[in-house]
């Protein structure tokens, strides 16, 4: 980043959509149904002054729905109201406060209808997606078992902190609608805005707001807001700023049930697991998320007989999918909780159990794909155990836990330690073009400048600088002459979201490919030379999503974490003094950036664990992060996202269970919950 740009960022000279305004601008405020489920009969408006307008479903110039993968969601509900807070209209006017007070006077006539049935009732209407991984016969596997380990737990994901950076500003310049917003879904936004406003995609230009890290789940906030703003701009022909409001309270919950057979030596003979994910009222994105959830739940361990069923279910809450890592880390949470449970039941050291049971080269993975390379996890576990003194600490804590009833005195605090491993693959597993499409176009211009058309959003602040530097080195062009273009409506092809480390994994590769071809052509062909590279999706032979067979990920990253906790006996306050994290994610493009990224993900993972929005700096654990690079030149960067999320919650749960002597059956946890027995 140039000096001046960094200076201007620190000096507050960067504008966010909330900062943009213009003389003719009007504010837009969504009107929402307060009660659900029901059928909307009428929207009763007060007398509106002439400068205030109200728009409802029938006013949407194009299509009044957002076609997401798996299911469309109405932009403004006109009949069925499926969740409280569902938008039914938009008020516009020059004064935001006036809109708020008028909104209070609007009432809706809604006839109640029955809600979705509870998820345990097998009603297909309430299940947008189900994926099954089946291998061998769990019946036979269970017969061989010496012990059967069975359990249930739940994971309730925290709400993300919301800032008004999600405001959207749109203005019409000539025939183009210029949108200012923050999202990692640029192509989808363009497509759905055009569809809703009844205009062509080329008429939508997106100005990305440069707010730092992007989040997978923001599609539900940014896309409807953007589409509504464009629609209203097109109707009013005035600049519009949609007021961002707090997120609606979702039910981000996942329930697990597992039953595992374990033989005398502690090996898994069979695993049956059911995972249920509350998708909210609409099942959009369910299929991809449920696939990954099933894969994560199947775990990374050898087991011949598997029956894993992952389902999403509908409820009368706002839709919220996809979630961070699209379900893989959350599935792994289930698998790792099971491993810790098995180790506890069979009296084994969890680190040791893991090392002995991990799949290796030559084994079949859960979906019957052949493993071609032994994952590096076993070595990572050994190293991390040594670095954190895991084995000794675990044995001591277990001893104390076993003997605690016999102790005549209560110590002021108990310690606990937990471990978990994770694998993250960054390919999308469905064949939906909305997700998987990716292409990069590079043009070497006559003047010697290089235009790199990306159509993606920088997922971390440093990635653009790295691309620029790498391009400049590979083509010997000064960095200033490399233009990274995020968006050009006329030419941009369709690209999937910038999540799951796709920037690192897919776009870096495509940029490299374009550059090496340009390098070959540059002194042979006349300028300008343009090269476009498109991401090749995996064939059905490699991965068959319908049957859940094959090798799901072309490339994986690996993580292993150890979490230490102290539990104060009097207050039941949980403190996490230290976390050790070892990561193998191929070649590291930007070591300080990678560290930052992992650290912030640790923070996010801790919000899954403790019942707080954010972990205060004063309580933030000491982090020991180690990146393993195998040093091979051929190794590609393979992404970082999800490794902390996939490991820390399970390791934390084990540590707290050990320290408290209570088998936890759900996250997040807090002192009150521990005091009342943990569940």
């Amino acid at each position: 980043m140039s000096e001046d740009k960094f200076r201007s960022r620190l000096a507050g000279q960067v504008s966010f959509p909330e900062d943009i305004s213009s003389r003719k601008m009007v504010y837009a405020l969504q009107v929402r149904a307060e009660r659900a489920p029901g059928i909307l009969k009428e929207i009763i408006l007060p007398r509106l002054p002439s400068h205030i307008k109200f728009f409802q479903a029938e006013d949407i110039p194009g299509k009044n729905y957002l076609s997401y993968p798996d299911e469309s969601v109405p932009l403004l509900a006109d009949t069925e109201i499926l969740y409280p807070g569902q938008p039914v209209g938009v008020l516009t006017g020059p004064d935001a406060d006036e809109l708020y007070s008028i909104r209070k006077e609007i009432s809706l006539e809604i006839t109640p209808i029955p809600g979705f049935p509870p998820y345990r009732m097998r009603d297909s209407r309430a299940c947008p997606a189900e994926k099954v991984i089946q291998k061998g016969s769990t019946l036979r596997g269970m017969e061989k078992a010496e012990t059967v380990v069975e359990g249930d737990f739940s994971l309730i994901l925290p709400e993300m902190p919301v800032y008004p950076r999600q405001a959207v500003y749109c203005t019409k310049e000539g025939g183009t609608y210029v949108l200012h917003l923050h999202s990692q879904w640029p192509s989808l936004i363009r497509k759905l805005c055009a569809q809703a406003a009844g205009i062509s995609r080329k008429q939508v230009e997106i100005h990305f707001n440069p707010a730092g890290r992007t989040w997978d789940s923001h599609v539900g906030q940014s896309v409807p807001a953007a589409a509504l703003t464009v629609c209203i701009t097109s109707i009013l022909r005035q600049p519009v700023k949609l007021i961002a409001e707090r997120d609606l309270p979702c039910r981000k919950e996942i329930f697990y049930h597992y039953r595992a057979g374990v033989d005398q030596s502690g090996r898994l003979t069979a695993l049956e697991a059911q995972v249920y994910l509350n998708a909210g009222a609409y099942g959009c994105f369910s299929s991809e998320v449920v696939t990954r959830l099933a894969l994560g739940t199947a775990g990374l361990y050898q087991c011949r007989h598997l029956d894993i069923r992952a389902k999403s279910f509908r409820s009368n809450y706002p839709p919220w999918l996809p979630l961070s890592t699209w379900g893989l880390a959350q599935g792994e949470f289930g698998a790792e909780m099971l491993v810790n449970h098995i180790a506890l039941e069979t009296g084994q050291d969890p680190a040791d159990w893991r090392s002995r049971n991990l799949t290796a080269k030559g084994n079949l993975n859960a979906t019957s794909g052949k493993i071609r390379q032994t994952p590096p996890l076993s070595d990572m576990i050994t190293e991390l155990s040594e670095a954190s003194d895991y084995t000794r600490k675990h044995a001591v804590s277990r001893q104390i836990r076993t003997n605690r009833n016999a102790l005549s005195i209560t110590p002021s605090s108990y310690a606990g330690i937990g471990m978990a491993v994770s694998r993250q693959g960054y390919d999308f597993l469905s064949r939906d073009k909305l997700l998987t499409a990716a292409s990069v176009s590079v043009t070497l211009q006559k003047e010697g400048t290089l235009d790199v058309l990306l159509g993606t959003v920088p997922a971390t602040p440093g990635i653009m600088a790295i691309w620029r530097k790498n391009i400049s080195a590979s083509l010997s062009i000064e960095e200033e002459k490399v233009n990274l273009i995020l968006d050009r409506p006329d030419e941009q092809s369709f690209n999937g979201p910038s999540c799951l480390s796709r920037n690192i994994l897919v776009f870096t590769k495509l940029i490299d490919q374009c550059c090496s071809i340009i390098q070959k052509k540059r002194f042979r062909e006349a300028l300008p030379i343009t090269e476009t590279r498109t991401f090749r999706r995996r064939t059905a032979n490699e991965w068959n999503e319908e049957e859940m067979k094959g090798t799901p990920f072309s490339q994986s990253s690996w993580g292993c974490a150890v979490v230490e906790v102290s539990l104060f006996t009097a207050t039941r306050e949980i403190v996490i003094p230290q976390i050790w994290l070892t990561i193998n994610c191929g070649t590291l493009l930007d070591p300080p950036g990678a560290r930052s990224f992992v650290e912030s993900e640790v923070r996010m993972a801790l919000t899954h664990c403790l019942d707080k929005q954010a972990i205060k700096p004063s309580l933030f654990p000491k982090l020991h992060i180690r990146f393993e690079e195998d040093g091979k030149k051929s190794t590609q960067p393979s992404g970082l996202e999800g490794l902390a999320l996939g490991t820390i919650p399970a390791a934390f749960t084990q540590a707290v269970s050990q320290a408290s002597g209570i088998t936890l059956t759900g996250l997040p946890i807090n002192s009150a919950r521990l005091l009342s027995g943990g569940n």
């Binding site: 960022r9 507050g12 800032y163 950076r165 440093g462 300080p592 560290r595 930052s596 650290e599």
Partner: protein
């Protein structure tokens, strides 16, 4: 109500209802967008400004209270030498702040370094907690703050 005060070393006046929040007035009437109106409840610190040399959360202050007083925002602070120290320190340690909290973080760091020239662990925590941030790692931020403190000491020596 007409309110006169000093803003970033200039005498200014504004005619707004007395109960308006200072943060709204600074953003809407003076176009100072470096401070963010994020939570509006005194939780996040992203609306911090300097009132008579002390950091305050401007979303909690009714504007009539600043009559005749002196306000500095990041826009004014960025013209000072103290800002340069923070800028250099953050730059040196690769503090990749997303732009959202960057201005307020810079302002609060600079102001609190006046109080803690060589911050110890506890004081570093105070500097960190003044502004809630959802993306930059604490370790990196701490290094940046310490580096800013060193730049300042060197300049003042």
């Amino acid at each position: 109500m007409l309110i006169e005060f000093t803003l970033n070393s200039e005498n200014v006046s504004v005619d707004v209802p007395a109960y308006f929040r200072l943060s709204d007035v600074l953003r809407d009437e003076f176009g100072l967008h470096g401070l963010r109106n994020a939570c509006r409840k005194g939780y996040c610190g992203l609306c911090s400004v300097v009132l008579d040399g002390k950091l305050v959360y401007s979303c909690l202050i009714p504007v009539f209270q600043i009559r005749g007083r002196e306000i500095m925002t990041i826009e004014g602070y960025s013209k000072t030498d103290d800002f340069e120290d923070v800028y250099k320190g953050f730059k040196k340690e690769g503090v990749h702040l997303c732009d959202y909290c960057a201005p307020t973080r810079t302002l609060t760091t600079g102001i609190l370094l006046d109080r803690y020239a060589r911050p110890d662990e506890h004081q570093l925590m105070e500097i960190l907690t003044t502004v809630t941030c959802s993306c930059t790692p604490y370790e990196t931020l701490k290094k940046g703050i310490l580096s800013a403190a060193r730049f300042r000491q060197r300049r003042l020596q």
